[in-house]
Amino acid sequence: MNEEMANGQDQWVSYVARVRDAQDQHAFAELFRHFAPRVKYFLMRSGADAGLAEECAQEVMATLWHKAHLFDPTRASVATWIFTIARNRRIDALRKERRAEPEELPWGPEEAAPQDHVLALQEEAAALGDALRKLPEKQRVLIERAYFGDLSHSEIAEETGLPLGTIKSRIRLALDRLRHAMK
């Protein structure tokens, strides 16, 4: 089950690599078909009208093409990476604000990412997605509302029904991975 989903994640990783290495339009079309409509939905849920959401979703996918060389599969799944691009576009286009980004880590001179690191991260992302999918509908909707802009920060803070336990159990893994990567 997890393996199957990790394979799915792996496939997106290889498509991004093909866009990066060979400007492969077929691989890009696959990514576009899957992710662009989801980005559009995300933006409309966040208050954009259909026209603006369409335009921003196109921009997000164009950013994927241009920044494919910056995607690091040891640090994020493709879905997570696209989510962060879409989120930043939303803050910029809808809220007209800047978003402060953390300082980058002093990663060592990295050769090609070790395949087991890629696999570990992609499996972890798949497992988290799986755990979220299995949540009771009510809890899942709450998290979705938090991420899709329906809940303000103070509402998130007050919201006792958020099933953060699911997330917390993944944090230990993320910490271990970060420490490992920094060695």
Binding site: F32, A36, K40, F42, I82, E104, A146
Partner: protein
């Protein structure tokens, strides 16, 4: 800025989730990004909250893109290419990564330097009395953020006290009751919490403080002078 293993006061899950979701006021995002720059643990936790966002995107509904959308996007890509790749750039993909590593030179972490327009020596300090200085940083109005310079042993001035208040130590330390907040530590205070931070003896303290209380346009009154009044 070097990583420290001694940070003991961290961001809450709700702040990290709000940051990952992109729902925090800009002023809070700056404090969160600055803390993450100093704290590996919160960096890893933040990455996990981003992963939740990715999983939500993956499993969410979809809205059909318009007819010809892919072609329009390819046209967008071609049009932007000369800009994106730059002519005369000889960088290889591997090197680009290094180039994009935004590392601060100096004392202040990179996200803070972006707002200050430089390092500590570029801060436009204004005196607010009792040796305390402040510098308001430009953000959207939904919350405000300022740098505070508090002489060793002096009281941290009242900077809001309503709504949510985040105070991140950049240099020196302050005490709040029994608790000590050193470099990288963040104090998260809500309206209910009665707190009276005082800069520790020995070194002057520099903090980054954000609040979503309405911005008040009068001089800050050091709490030292008004020990019993909440102003």
């Amino acid at each position: 800025m070097t990583m420290t293993q001694t940070i003991s006061h961290h961001l809450t899950d709700s702040l990290l989730m709000g940051y990952a979701a992109g729902n925090l006021p800009e002023a809070f995002s700056l404090v969160v990004a600055t803390h993450i720059s100093m704290c590996d643990e919160c960096r890893a936790r933040a990455a996990t909250f981003d992963t939740v966002g990715g999983a939500m995107l993956e499993t969410s509904d979809a809205v059909a893109m318009e007819e010809g959308s892919l072609e329009a996007t390819m046209a967008r890509i071609s049009a932007a290419l000369p800009v994106a790749r730059g002519n005369g750039s000889t960088t290889q993909p591997g090197q680009m990564q290094g180039q994009h590593q935004r590392r601060a030179r100096g004392i202040l972490p990179a996200p803070l330097q972006d707002y200050v327009g430089g390092d500590l020596d570029q801060i436009n300090w204004r005196p607010v009395g009792m040796g305390v200085r402040q510098a308001l940083l430009p953000t959207s109005r939904s919350a405000s953020v300022r740098l505070l310079y508090i002489p060793a042993g002096a009281s941290v001035p009242d900077h809001g006290h309503r709504g949510l208040e985040l105070t991140l130590v950049l240099q020196g330390a302050f005490m709040d009751g029994d608790m000590r907040f050193g470099p990288g530590d963040i104090e998260i205070a809500t309206e209910e919490l009665e707190h009276t931070p005082i800069a520790a003896q020995g070194a002057d303290c520099i903090c980054l403080a954000a609040t979503d209380a309405p911005l008040r346009f009068r001089a800050l009154m050091p709490r030292l002078a008004q020990p019993f009044l909440r102003i």
